[in-house]
């Protein structure tokens, strides 16, 4: 299935952000931009993350470096949560059900 593309210029207007923010995200390798007819686009699959990063920046005042750090920590948190869930299931095998 082909991914739909969304124009970054439009995204910036709607979210009231400066296009340089998107460029910085790309520079840090946090998103990837697709060029088409010299205009910048983003794939639909990345749109969700881009909106999350935009919220962090816009609503919470977090800069690019902070976004990258948070993203990594959240990924770790997810892994830890998955591990806890697995351990809970294993542990329940040793607990007697009342």
């Amino acid at each position: 299935m082909k991914e739909e593309l969304f124009a970054i210029s439009e995204f910036c207007i709607i979210h009231d952000i400066d296009p340089s923010f998107i460029n910085s995200l790309e520079n840090e390798g946090l998103i990837s931009i697709t060029f088409f007819n010299e205009e910048k686009f983003i794939e639909e699959a990345q749109l969700h993350e881009l909106e999350i990063f935009t919220r962090w920046h816009h609503d919470l005042g977090i800069n690019i470096e902070g976004i990258d750090a948070i993203r990594n920590i959240l990924e770790k948190l997810r892994q830890v949560q998955a591990e806890i869930n697995m351990l809970k299931i294993k542990l329940s095998n040793y607990e007697t059900t009342a």
């Binding site: 739909e4 439009e10 709607i14 979210h15 969700h48 909106e51 609503d59 919470l60 299931i89 294993k90």
Partner: protein, 301 residues
């Protein structure tokens, strides 16, 4: 419905400046933002309160009205009603509440009754839909299955935004597993795509079987005589009862692994984990004097 002290929510004094409010909001939002607290419903609720407080206090008109009526919100309510009845665009007398019914926990956009009584219903406003500017909101919902349900492939119909969505849940789905239905979330705005629907499967515990990955564990009680002399037991499996030979001199806690009698492997037709049986040997109670004598004989034999 209780009065909400928005200043207290943000930890501010009534004399707080615009900048104080912005700083306090950002500081608390960074702590409780749902993006930074995945799967934490408590943080979500807290964030809604902070958001609501910020919505009111960061807007000079709203703040003024809140400061004026705040604790006497009932009067404000009457004032609003009177205004609605007079106004040419008085709005829908039945309110817009009906539109609020999306399935699952859409999260993020809920305002307290107190807020709504002071500032009106927010569902039609869209003035503050900071969460949805482009791509639609993701929805989250849960489906609860029993362990035995999860062992079979089944069709499930969900109601999302009044539309019925039919999904097939393959046998072997795990507890906590999430399935994404692309484009079944909230509608996008400004030409953005719709969000996705995330379904988390919750598998309730079974009284007989405990599941670890694809393996099932169960405990079977055997009496002392079967354990000592060997024999046969009938056990429950997911696919029905089977007979099992018990070896003579089976120790308490002995485990037996039955290949392929465990839980079906997700999306791998015909494959299954193992069923692990733990024997629990029952020591006889209420022995007669004669029986005790026989045990005594045994113990010195």
């Amino acid at each position: 419905m209780a009065f909400i002290d928005y200043y207290k929510v943000l930890g501010l004094a009534k004399a707080a400046t615009e900048n104080d409010i912005k700083k306090a909001y950002r500081k608390l939002a960074r702590k409780h933002h749902p993006d930074l607290n995945p799967n934490d419903k408590g943080a979500n609720v807290k964030f809604q309160q902070i958001n609501e407080a910020n919505e009111v206090l960061s807007d000079p008109d709203k703040r003024k009205k809140y400061d004026e009526y705040g604790e006497n919100w009932k009067q404000a309510d009457q004032y609003e009603n009177a205004k609605q009845q007079q106004g040419a665009y008085g709005g829908n007398p039945f309110g817009n509440r009906g539109q609020q019914e999306y399935s699952g926990e859409a999260g993020g956009e809920h305002f307290s009754d107190f807020f709504e009584s002071l500032f009106g219903n927010r569902t039609s406003g869209g003035a503050r839909n900071s969460q949805v500017k482009y791509r639609g909101q993701d929805y989250n919902t849960e489906l609860h299955f029993t362990l035995r349900d999860a062992a079979e492939t089944r069709q499930q119909t969900l109601s999302v935004n009044g539309k019925n969505v039919r999904i097939t849940v393959a046998a072997g789905i795990a507890n906590g597993q999430v399935i994404k239905l692309k484009g079944h979330g909230g509608p996008g705005t400004n030409g953005g795509p719709a969000g996705d629907l995330y379904i988390t499967f919750i598998i309730t515990e079974d009284s007989t079987f405990k599941r670890t990955g694809n393996d099932l564990n169960t405990t079977i009680e055997i009496d002392l005589y079967t354990a000592v002399l060997g024999g046969e037991v009938t056990i429950d499996t997911l696919s029905g009862k089977i007979k099992l030979k018990v070896k003579p001199e089976t120790q308490n806690g002995t485990k037996v692994r039955l290949k392929n009698k465990g839980f079906p492997v997700y999306k791998k037709e015909g494959e299954a984990g193992d069923l692990i049986i733990t024997y629990s040997v029952k020591i006889p109670i209420g022995l007669t004097e004669k029986q005790k004598e026989l045990f005594r004989e045994l113990s010195v034999s």
